[in-house]
Amino acid sequence: MSNLNAPVPSGGVTDAENNIANKEVEGLSQGQIVRRRFFRHRGAVVSMITLAFIVVLAFSAVGFDFSVFGVQVKTPGWWQWTWTEIPTAQNGGRPTLSLVPEWMDGEGVRFGDHPFGQDEIGRDIFAVVMRGTQQSIVIMVIVGLIATTIGTVIGAVSGYYRGWVDSVLMRFTDVIITIPLIVIGAVLGLAFGKLGAFVLAIIIGLFTWTGLARLVRGEVLSLREREFVDAARVAGATDRRIIFKHILPNAIGVIIVNTTLLMAAAILLETALSFLGYGVQSPDTSLGKIISENQSAFATRPWLFWWPGVFIIAIALCINFIGDGLRDAFDPRQKRLPSARALAKGNSGGLDRAAVVVTARGAGMQGGGDGAGGVGLRGFDADDPRPRGGGYDAARDPKKDS
């Protein structure tokens, strides 16, 4: 990631081009650059706002109710029903939410008593779905924290020390990676699902760090050969300081991007486990469990099925988009150069266009020279001037680590 600060090549149009690219980032710290790039990714920003809205909605509507190792945390919510209350069913439990205004021949915009409807015994589905959303979010965050911590430490230690430490840790990673997540989740969920969402999340987190560990290892393997690490070592820094202060901050992009992807995967894993009956157990509920319980009622009470699904998709989609935005923000190769057409238009005539093509080679060499893990050079191209767009390659390509 450090080639953000690569020197600006000089000469011809390359200069012009880099000036446009560099003017934006002049005098900014790396954090500011990343933040600025992130906020330019419209999908990611919209997703972040949506996700924040969902989180606030879920946690404020029915209040906290968690017990962690015997400590109870309980707060009231603003919604009139709680997820355990059983009001009498109205109108066959049909949702009272209506979004079609009256002037369009609708019933007017209103929420009513049970906006998402009720199930067959009368529970308010809005409250139940909010509770399930809480569980999913809690699990997602805890899994993210635990898996990221373990994965980063194991990957960094293994990549930094190499040798037998590396071999032992990577074989250990192989052992865990061999067991499909859904399988280990099911086995452990069966044993620990009764203990509540927190314990389930910790257990899932203990087994989902493998991919991240491999990626971090690959990143550290290449970073540890760089001059700034030598400099730190010569200055007498301890190994711990080199790893945590010098190497890992440079790998932060890979780590953050993969943490988001991991969190999205965790949410789907939790719902899948609950669906199979190995996740969150009754009397508590989760989004997957609501769907599992009501899938046969789809023909008669489709709202029991739509709402939890919509929330799962909304959360996972938001997280994935945020991850995409972060990837774009952290990857220096992804900066959107002004297009060759724009540049050529700025100059006049075909001759200058040719000059763009010829001199731009320099920019290509510069940009791709030391891209971490990249193969070959990412050049500047006359026909398609934009640099490689956001893909899954750098972050998810399993080959990048070995």
Binding site: V183, L276, D324, D384, Y392
Partner: protein, 507 residues
């Protein structure tokens, strides 16, 4: 190389041993295997508990019991289930069922994902690219069990209702599909505005006329391609593949492909109303497929002139597609018999199970039955893995297209087709090949939820039933296959990568 393979194999064996040890203990400790007996009111409860303890060797603690199990595995015996059935037999059946489910889904997902990924990479930052990006993010975020229920409701039940009486496509649907097809093609095929409009008109017109004709001939009740459809597919494949692989300027390739397509058409009537009745086993069909590709290769060889390779390739693909169209037509011919048969009663798309019990009929009817049962789970699986392949192939091709040698190729004056197909596409496939290898290793274990939703008794059921009864033997049989395949294909992926990409050295 050999040293590398051996070292990796030895390491893999130890990894698998450690993983099975871990897994065995986790399963054995996940619950109480005697729970159901303890709760029962049977008079001989004590005796039953006693016999089960003896059967499952519960008197031995799990870490040691693992070695008893391992000893059995080395002798090819995977043990018994709680119900005293042989796990070997169960595994064999489950593996067959799961492979049937996942193979087609994986192949289709790979082909679709590659095609879409490549087209999006070539049209980077177009409306098409953004749409596909959004769709693949959406598919990434879909819980498969949720999709499965939707598929059951809308595809199966909806389509069956549609077929029930006089199926005719409504006008709004035809209009919608027409516009969608027009937009799709207009955004994929490059060109200025004028050319885009022409593309839109042609694609929309073709789609609309096809759908209207389908309505007119009552296609949904009596589907079929007939010789016209087969001719369109065969000749279309001949021209399209030639344009793609060698370029239409290569007349030898074009003529060879057309000869192959013509041969297929000439064999259409003899096959549909003669030869096909004597095909009673699946291997015969496979043999015919191989034979048709072989004949096509031979035609390509004879007509290839000095440059036989590409011509043979074009001919072989054309032969494959033409033969496939003929076979598809033959399957469609029995659709009406199948749908109206006593076991189906006019609701052909199945929502559960892997085949209709007691269905009688020829190989072709059985084939249609397999198709109707595979349709929904395959769709669900494709939706999920399609997204990954699209993103990977897009990223991979973009990376290659921005490299220097591509610019060199363009600078030499090569046609864009040659640059993309010959220079870029092949190199972009290298990372994809390893991902495909990974995925093939993972597919057997990856369909647990899909199998459960669609009621297939495959590997997922083996795993789940075993786990619910805290019975390690079937769970371990499942895991042995899944874990073993994962490790094996991991190794294969590394070797394939090293073999395809000379920049990577294994040591």
């Amino acid at each position: 190389m050999a040293a590398f393979v051996i070292r990796r194999l030895v390491a893999s064996v130890f990894v698998l041993l450690a993983a099975t040890f871990l897994m065995y203990n986790l399963v054995a400790l996940s619950g109480d295997p005697l729970e159901d007996l303890r709760a029962s009111n049977a008079p001989n409860k004590e005796q039953l508990i006693e016999s089960r303890i003896k059967l499952l060797r519960l008197d031995v603690i799990p870490p040691l019991r693992y070695f008893l199990w391992l000893g059995g595995v080395f002798q090819g015996d995977l043990g018994l289930t709680v119900q005293q059935r042989s796990v070997n037999a169960l595994l064999e059946q489950a593996l067959g069922s799961t492979l049937q489910l996942v193979t087609i889904a994986t192949v289709v997902a790979i082909i679709l994902g590659l095609t879409v990924g490549i087209t999006t990479a070539l049209r980077q930052y177009s409306g098409y690219d953004y749409t596909v990006t959004f769709i693949s993010f959406l598919f990434f975020s879909l819980p498969i069990f949720w999709v499965a229920v939707l598929l059951k409701q809308f595809v199966a039940i909806g389509f069956n209702d549609f077929l029930e009486d006089d199926p005719q496509l409504p006008v709004w649907l035809i209009a919608l599909l027409t516009i969608a097809a027009g937009l799709l093609w207009a955004s994929i095929i490059p060109g200025a505005l004028r050319r885009k409009i022409i593309t839109f008109a042609v694609a929309a017109g073709a789609t609309a006329s096809m759908l209207v004709i389908m309505n007119l001939i009552d296609w949904f009740s009596y589907p079929g391609l007939s010789i016209v459809g087969v001719a369109i597919i065969g000749i279309g494949a001949a021209v399209g593949l030639t344009a793609l692989i060698t370029g239409l300027k290569n007349r030898r390739a074009l003529y060879a492909a057309l000869v192959v397509a013509g041969l297929g058409l000439a064999l259409y009537f003899p096959f549909q109303f003669g030869i096909s009745y004597s095909i009673t086993e699946w291997w015969m069909l496979v043999a015919l497929a191989i034979a048709s590709v072989g004949v096509s290769l031979a035609i390509g060889w004879f007509m290839g002139g000095v440059d036989k390779g590409p011509v043979m390739r074009v001919a072989a693909f054309t032969g494959f597609f033409t033969a496939g169209a003929i076979a598809l037509d033959r399957f469609m011919m029995v659709w009406d018999d199948y749908a109206s048969s006593g076991r189906i009663r006019g609701r052909p798309i199945a929502t559960i199970g892997s085949s209709t019990p007691n269905l009688e009929g020829s190989l072709w009817v059985q084939g249609v039955d397999i198709y109707t049962h595979l349709l929904l789970p395959t769709l669900a699986l494709i939706l999920i893995s399609f997204a990954t392949y699209t993103r990977y192939s897009r990223a991979s091709l973009l990376e290659v297209m921005n490299q220097d040698y591509i610019r060199t190729a363009r600078a030499k004056g090569l046609a864009e087709r040659t640059v993309v197909v010959r220079h870029a596409f092949r190199n972009a496939l290298i990372p994809i090949a390893t991902i495909v290898a990974f995925d093939i290793g993972g597919i057997v274990g990856g369909a647990v939820i899909t199998e459960r939703v669609f009621g297939w008794t495959g590997m997922g059921a083996l795993f789940q039933n075993g786990l619910d009864q805290v019975d390690p033997n079937p769970v371990m049989a499942f895991f042995l296959v899944v874990g073993g395949l994962a490790i094996l294909f991991n190794l294969i992926a590394d070797l394939v990568y090293a073999a395809l990409d000379p920049r990577i050295r294994v040591n």
